[in-house]
């Protein structure tokens, strides 16, 4: 008996102690200006949590944002992201020219740009970078970003030109245009002939236009026909086109080479890119990590091992000091950087971590100075939002659910519309707090001037009417939920706290507004991806999309591939045509209007249920200056610094509109 009482006492004591602590904790969190400790580290050293372990230090291989942020310290391209707006600002290129229809870009490099080993960065390095990034051997998962460049897609896919050995000419796409869509070649427009009208006018700095070259002529010659290199695939591609099939007889096939791509180094400091289509957004894409310039000599010497700390050569404001996987990656200021005087931090320590609570605990304890986006759980916002170190802004990312339109009952557009209208997105946003309701497919408030179309509003009555129209009614013509095959529709999601919460919300909405209790189905991530990509899921699946560059096209492009890579099975050539029309329009506002029209057209088919525009939702300590909640949470590290004077700290979200960037007191 003696033990019983003593163990009870101990147990009781433990409980009391814990509840006391709990209370203490809750109280301490609510009465403060900042979350946890705010003592700045000594000197100019930044400790930052960047997300999951980087896949690689090779900017052309690592695909995620966590890698992207590290690459922004180590590498640069022609341009980089503005720290506030994420629009492209000059980096290694000091200026650039764009032709009239935005299909050709010429970059002028600065003469003082150097690698971390002191060697000069030239246009040839960029040529190598483009050739390498798109080569099938590198097998980069980001290679599709370069597909706008002329003949880049066939090169990456291993396509062939068809040459007539008789007169040494190539078969042209336009001669067989009828079957354009069926060939493996991209749905490319015929390039405009090279006339003075399509050339850019010389800018103030240069008196003459850039030189014309044989390669330039080739780029503006009519498009060559491209076929798959593999014989079986080729036979498949031409089987419905007797004219083409006949024309292939006696011809030789020439693989598309790296040199055939629309990239050209005109001299050491001038670089020209020719695209397959008009793409005004292409400049924004140039700041993407995939186009960061990489050192040819080092890669050719060490191959895969070139990114090891002892071999690596970089070109950004910082260079690699040490890398302990899963623990920390340290970069230090690079004196060879062209703008080294502007760099304020001496050192950045990137901590790879994935688990949000662990990250937030670390932040609260003052062990890190800033964290990546989406780290603050929605449920915490009541407590965190009033704090002055909380960073919030609309993000270039959306959350939506996609619908498998290939299976009944979801093959019926009426049912899809009804499901969409039966979800109260305002309520969802109000509850999630950190997001904005979304009825369209492009994020709201991220692209200034874009006349975003509005999708169907929340309307449960209309939703039930649509269900009646779709045939789910009783003898009296009233809506009858029992007729609906609920075993054919599951709400599928991959396990993660926020996904679970949103899925449960949807379940409750449809139960309330349509009388349907749909089953939830959670899956391990990779299992989920497979089920979604192969359209194996039943009904509805969670999805999210983060833009690659600052333009609505990065979202709308999701529905331009014929095989239904978007995971819904929806594809409409008319939609693709509408997008292409818009991109050919030189006027920015006009183009936006056309894009909005295309978006509305897609929404009308309702292959998705848009839910929210995400918000960045992260935190930084008040003494960190020069970090802004921009739409991608990508930080140009050279503008960041540690302010030791509390009077100059950020109390709240820093000013996002002024052009000025902070300089910290020494």
């Amino acid at each position: 008996m003696s033990f019983l009482s003593s163990s009870k006492v101990r147990f009781g004591l433990l409980l009391v102690a814990l509840s006391l602590l709990a209370a203490a904790c809750a109280a301490s969190a609510s009465n403060q200006m900042f979350f946890g400790k705010t003592a700045p580290p000594a000197g100019q050293v930044m400790r930052y949590v960047t997300g999951s372990e980087p896949e690689s230090l090779d900017p052309q291989l690592g695909t995620g944002q966590p890698e992207g942020r590290i690459y922004m310290a180590l590498y640069e391209s022609f341009c980089e992201f503005d720290p506030k707006t994420m629009e492209p600002i000059p980096a290694i290129a000091e200026r650039w020219d764009v032709n009239k229809d935005s299909s050709e870009f010429t970059f002028h490099l600065r003469k003082n740009a150097r690698w971390s080993n002191g060697e000069q960065i030239t246009a040839r390095d960029f040529l190598y970078t483009f050739h390498r990034g798109l080569s099938p051997e590198l097998a980069s998962r980001n290679a599709y970003l370069g597909y706008y460049i002329k003949y880049a897609q066939p090169y990456n896919e291993g396509g062939v030109f068809v040459r007539d050995p008789g007169n040494n000419s190539y078969l042209l796409e336009k001669d067989f245009a009828k079957d354009e869509a069926k060939t493996a070649a991209p749905a490319a427009e015929t390039a405009e002939p090279l006339t003075p009208a399509t050339e850019y006018t010389p800018t103030a700095e240069e008196q003459t236009p850039d030189p014309d070259t044989p390669h330039h002529q080739f780029m503006h010659a009519p498009n060559r026909l491209v076929l798959p290199a593999d014989e079986a695939e080729r036979a498949e591609a031409v089987k419905d086109n007797p004219k083409l099939k006949a024309a292939l007889a006696g011809k030789t096939f020439e693989p598309v080479k790296a040199d055939d791509m629309g990239v050209e180094a005109l001299d050491d400091f001038t670089f020209r890119i020719t695209l397959t289509q008009s793409a005004p957004f292409f400049l924004g894409l140039m700041a993407h990590q995939f186009f960061h310039v990489v050192p040819q000599k080092v890669i050719e010497k060490y191959h895969e091992a070139w990114t090891r700390p002892e071999n690596i050569v970089t070109c950004g404001p910082f260079k690699l000091k040490s890398w302990k996987p899963y623990n920390e990656l340290i970069v230090v200021r690079d004196p060879n950087y062209w703008d080294a005087a502007r760099v304020q931090l001496d050192e950045i320590r990137f901590y790879p971590m994935e688990d949000n609570p662990t990250i937030m605990n670390l932040y609260k304890a003052g062990e890190v100075d800033g964290v990546l986006n989406h780290t603050v759980p929605a449920a915490w916002l009541d407590v965190i939002r009033p704090l002055k170190d909380y960073m919030d802004a609309p993000e270039m990312a959306i959350t939506y659910f996609q619908i498998n339109i290939t299976r009944p009952p979801m093959d019926n557009v009426l049912v899809r519309k009804a499901f969409n209208m039966a979800v109260d997105k305002e309520a969802l946003s109000k509850w999630r707090k950190v997001t904005k309701p979304l009825t369209a497919f492009s994020p709201e408030g991220v692209f200034p001037g874009y006349p975003q179309p509005k999708g169907d509003k929340f309307d449960p009555v209309k939703a039930r009417q649509l269900m009646v129209q779709a045939g789910y009614k009783d003898a009296n013509g009233n809506y009858d939920p029992k007729k609906f095959p609920i075993d054919q529709v599951e709400i599928t999601y991959n396990i993660q706290e926020s996904n679970k919460a949103i899925s449960e919300f949807l379940q409750a909405q449809w139960k309330q507004n349509l009388g349907l209790t749909l089953p939830l189905k959670s899956m391990e991530f990779k299992t989920f991806l497979q089920s979604r990509a192969n359209l194996e899921y039943k009904g509805i699946a969670r999805a999210g999309w983060i833009g690659d560059y600052l333009d609505p096209v990065t979202f709308l492009n999701l529905f331009t591939t014929p095989k239904g890579d978007n995971g819904t099975g929806w594809y409409d050539p008319k939609f693709v045509e509408m997008l292409n029309d818009a991109n050919r329009t030189p006027d920015k506002q006009k183009r936006y209007e056309l894009l909005a029209k295309a978006e509305a057209y897609m929404l009308d088919a309702q292959p998705v249920i848009p839910l929210t525009t995400d918000a960045t939702s992260w935190m930084k300590k008040p003494y960190v200056k020069g970090m802004y909640p921009n739409p991608g949470t990508m930080h140009a590290w050279k503008f960041v610094c540690i302010e030791h004077d509390p009077n100059k700290w950020d109390y709240g979200v820093p000013d996002m509109t002024s052009k000025e960037l902070p300089i910290c007191t020494k």
Partner: protein, 306 residues
């Protein structure tokens, strides 16, 4: 002895190979791929990747390649972490897991044996009940509850210790993971020690020793301890093998770059070479530890001969 070791190896090595083969098959059966991600890749890019990593080859070629890699003890490059070889990952992560594990086990041994001994010597007293009650609590409190509670108290409220991350072998970061990890082992060793000691305390030779009038301290340290710790020794092998090869929960809670954390992520990433490498490595470690325990047994207990 040597014959015994050889016989053991002859049985276990093929078994490790079988385990690896089945694991390899399981990876193949699990849905998804190392390169699948939120953004579905264009078919051509997927094809390029499959060619680059040899995933397009028939299964027996891949299996042969995998088996070859084990025999050479060179597992090649990780599929997920471009530019890191599996051998390197093993070399970097194992020390972290091993240090945490060994420290935790040492702590468990010291505390567990002490409390267990006190319990046994003061059987059925308050000391005994108190210690055994605490031990039971240690066994019953899951480490994923204990760890966060420690974090809550010592990092988020008192701001004494860093809540997570690896700070090297001599840092404050190491304290909470070690305690969290050792709690259950502490408790278990205390129970094992107590039971083992009680058994010896009642044996004839201790009675004889007492009758001879030997000092109690000598009896306890020279005779009782030696026999009473046998169960602890046999527990040490498998337990230490688990501890040094990484304990997933603790490594996850404290974000430590250990083997266990990598293993879970390798599973979730379908990173085949890494999974195979870790499974093979753990298999060998377990084998070695069990062997060491058997040898240790022979030294402690003179009745055992091989």
């Amino acid at each position: 002895m040597l014959r015994f070791i050889i016989r053991r190896l002859l049985i276990t090595i093929p078994m490790v190979l079988i385990v690896i083969s089945i694991t390899w098959g399981l990876i193949r059966l699990a849905p998804g791929n190392f390169y699948s991600g939120e953004k579905k890749l264009p078919a051509a890019i997927e094809k390029n990747i499959r060619e680059k990593y040899g995933v397009d080859k028939p299964w027996y070629v891949q299996y042969g390649k995998m088996m070859g890699s084990i025999l050479r003890w060179d597992f090649g490059a990780s599929l997920k972490y471009e530019g890191q070889s599996v051998n390197e990952i093993l070399a970097n992560t194992f020390p972290v897991s091993a240090v945490i594990g060994i420290l935790a086990y040492l702590l468990a041994l010291v505390v567990g044996i002490t409390t267990g001994t006190i319990s046994a010597l003061r059987q059925n007293t308050k000391w005994d009940y108190g210690a055994m009650g605490l031990a039971m609590l240690g066994i019953s409190l899951p480490n994923f509850v204990l760890g966060p509670l420690l974090v809550l108290i010592f990092s988020l409220t008192l701001y004494w210790l860093p809540p997570s991350r690896w700070g090297g072998f001599f840092s404050l970061n190491i304290i909470m993971p070690v305690i969290t990890l050792s709690a259950i082992y502490m408790a278990y060793i205390a129970r094992l020690t107590r039971a083992g000691m009680l058994e010896v305390l009642r044996s004839d030779y201790i009675r004889t020793a007492r009758a001879k009038g030997l000092r109690e301290r000598d009896i306890v340290f020279r005779h009782v301890m030696r026999g009473g710790l046998m169960p602890v020794v046999s527990f040490t092998g498998p337990a230490l093998a688990v501890l040094v090869t990484g304990t997933v929960v603790v490594e996850r809670i404290f974000a430590l770059p250990g083997l266990g954390n990598y293993f879970i992520n390798a599973n979730l990433n379908r990173d085949e070479p890494l999974i195979i490498g870790i499974v093979a490595f753990i298999g060998i470690i377990t084998l070695v530890f069990n062997l060491l325990v058997d040898i240790a047994y022979a030294y402690i207990d003179p009745r055992i001969r091989y």
